[in-house]
C-alpha cells in the first residue's frame, strides 16, 4: 500500500502529531515501505481463524464495586504542566 502525502496528513491529525508539510513526503515513503513489507501477511489464508487478542488465558477478575483508593488530588496534579485551584489547565475549549 503506497501512502500519499494527503493520507499522511490525515493520519497525523488522527494521531494528534503535527507533521510539517516538508516532512510528509519522507514519511509517506517510510510508512509505505513498512506497510508493503507487512502485506506479506496476505499470503496466508486465515479464513475461520479466531483472532488472538491476548495470550493471557485468564478470565478478567471481578471485585466488589466499591471505592478502594482515592483522595490523591494533589499527588495527581503534582506533575501537571499547568494547574489552578485543583484543576488541570488547558487552552480554552468552549467559546
Amino acid at each position: 500500500m503506497a501512502l500519499d502525502k494527503a493520507t499522511v496528513a490525515g493520519i497525523a491529525t488522527l494521531a494528534r502529531i503535527r507533521v510539517p508539510e516538508e516532512d510528509r513526503a519522507r514519511l509517506a515513503q517510510e510508512l509505505s515501505g513498512i506497510l508493503t513489507w507487512i502485506e506479506q501477511l496476505n499470503e496466508v489464508a486465515t479464513d475461520g481463524v479466531e483472532p488472538m487478542v491476548s495470550v493471557a488465558d485468564i478470565t478478567l477478575p471481578l471485585r466488589e464495586d466499591c471505592v478502594t483508593d482515592g483522595g490523591k488530588r494533589d499527588e495527581i496534579l503534582a506533575n501537571a504542566p499547568q494547574q489552578a485551584k485543583g484543576f488541570f489547565l488547558v487552552p480554552k475549549v468552549v467559546e
Partner: protein, 494 residues
Amino acid sequence: MAALTDLTISAARDGLAKREFSARELAQAHIAAVEAARALNAFLVETPERALEMATASDGRLRRGEARLLDGIPLAIKDLFCTKGIATTAGSRILEGFKPPYESTVSAKLWEAGAVLLGKTNMDEFAMGSSNTTSAYGPVENPWRRRGDNRKLVPGGSSGGSAAAVAARAAMGATGTDTGGSIRQPASFTGIVGLKPTYGRCSRWGIVAFASSLDQAGPMTRSVRDAALMLRAMAGHDPKDSTSAPVDVPDFAAALTGDIRGLKIGIPREYRLDGMPMEIESLWQQGMEWLRAAGATPVEISLPMTKYALPAYYIIAPAEASSNLARYDGVRFGLRVPGETLDEMYEATRAQGFGDEVKRRVLIGTYVLSAGYYDAYYLKAQKLRALIARDFTNAFQSVDVILAPTAPSAAFPIGERADDPIAMYLNDVFTVPGNLSGLPGLSVPGGLSSDATPLGLQVIGRPFDEATVLRVGEVLERAADFQARPQFIAGGGA
C-alpha cells in the same frame, strides 16, 4: 578476592551472609562504578544517597539475622519502571521532569526483597528500538568493542542501558522489559544473561506501557542463577494488573539441578535464515552438542508461521502503542508546548516530545486501526498471531524447550542501520515469536563472534515453565564457560 563489583548476585549473597563485606561497602563500590561508567551513558539518573540508605537498612537486617532474598544487592532499574519521587522518562522528552507519585509493582517487590537502587537506566524511547539509539538522551555505548576496530558499538535495545551497566560491572543486575526482544537481544549483544518471563508472570503495573499484550518485565544478570534469584523477587500475582497470572512463584534457583537427561530440545528448521552469518549457525550447532552431551535429545521441529511473526508484530505493537501513547497530551504530566487551541497544543506537544521512531510507530498504529483498514491489517495480524502461537503449542507437545540463536548478528556500530527501519526490525526475528505467543525466553552468552564480540543462545519454554528454561540455560552456561570480559570494566576489573 575479586573486586566486589565482579561478584555475581549469588556470590555477593554468600559474602554478605558470612560478613566478608557489608551491604554498605557493596553499595559504595557500585556507586563508584556507576560514576566510572558515565562515558557509556547507561544511566539517566544516579541515586547514590538512596543506595546508601537502602544498604544501611540491609546491613541492619543482615545483622539481626533477618536477611531477605536480595538484601544488599545493588541493582539498576530500566527507566520504563515508575519509581516514586525519582524521575522516570521512558527515554522520552515528553516525560522530562515526570516524577511518579507511585512505585511500579516489580520495583517495589525488589525493594521489599532488600535490593538496593543504584539508578535508572537509559533505553530506546518508549522501548521502541533494538540499538538504544532512539533514546532522547543519547545512545548507550556497549562496553565491548570489536577486535582491531575502535568504533563504538550499540548495546542492543531497548534495555540497552541495563545491559551495558550489568556487562560493565556497574550494577550486579538490572531490570529490563521485553516487548519484542528488548531483554534478550541486548543481553546477547553485551554477553550477559537476560530472561523474558511468561506473559503474566511479572506485574505490568507501574511500567510505562508500550504494547500491553506483549510487554513483560524480566531480570538481566551475569549468571543464570542470578536471573533465577531476581525473577523470584520480581514475579507474582498483582491484583492491580488484570493480566497478571494468579499462579505460584516457585523457587527458580532450586530448579538448577544441572540434570537435563531425557529432555527433548526442539530445533526449529525455519530459524535457519538465508544470509544468516555462519558463526551464528555454528554457535547454534555447538549449543545442540552441549545439550546432547548433557543427556538431552535435539529434535528438529517446524514452526511454519515463523516468517510472519515480524510483520504481524509490526502491526500489533504499533497499534497498541498508538493507543497507549495517546495519554501524552501535555495536560497531566510531562512536556507541554503551547498552542492556541487544545488540538494545536496536543499536536505541538507530541510533535516536539516524540522522536522519529516513536512517531513512525504511532502513525503506523493509527493507520492500521483506522476505519477501513482495521480488518485488512489489525484483524489479519491478530489471526496470524493465533497461528504463530498454535505452532508453538503444537511443538511443545513433542519437545520440552526450544533452542535458537538470540539474534541474527552480534553488536553493530552505533549509527549503522539507522536509516533503514526494516533492517533494524530484523534484529528481533528470533525473539518476537516468543512475545506474540507469551512464552518465556532466556538468552545465555554462548561464545564470541569472529571479531570477538558476544553472541547469545536462546532457550524458549512452555508457558510458566521458566524453571525448565533456566535449568537448560544453566547447563548451556556451564558448557559455554563464557569467561570473556568487555574492554571497558567500570568496577576497575579483577
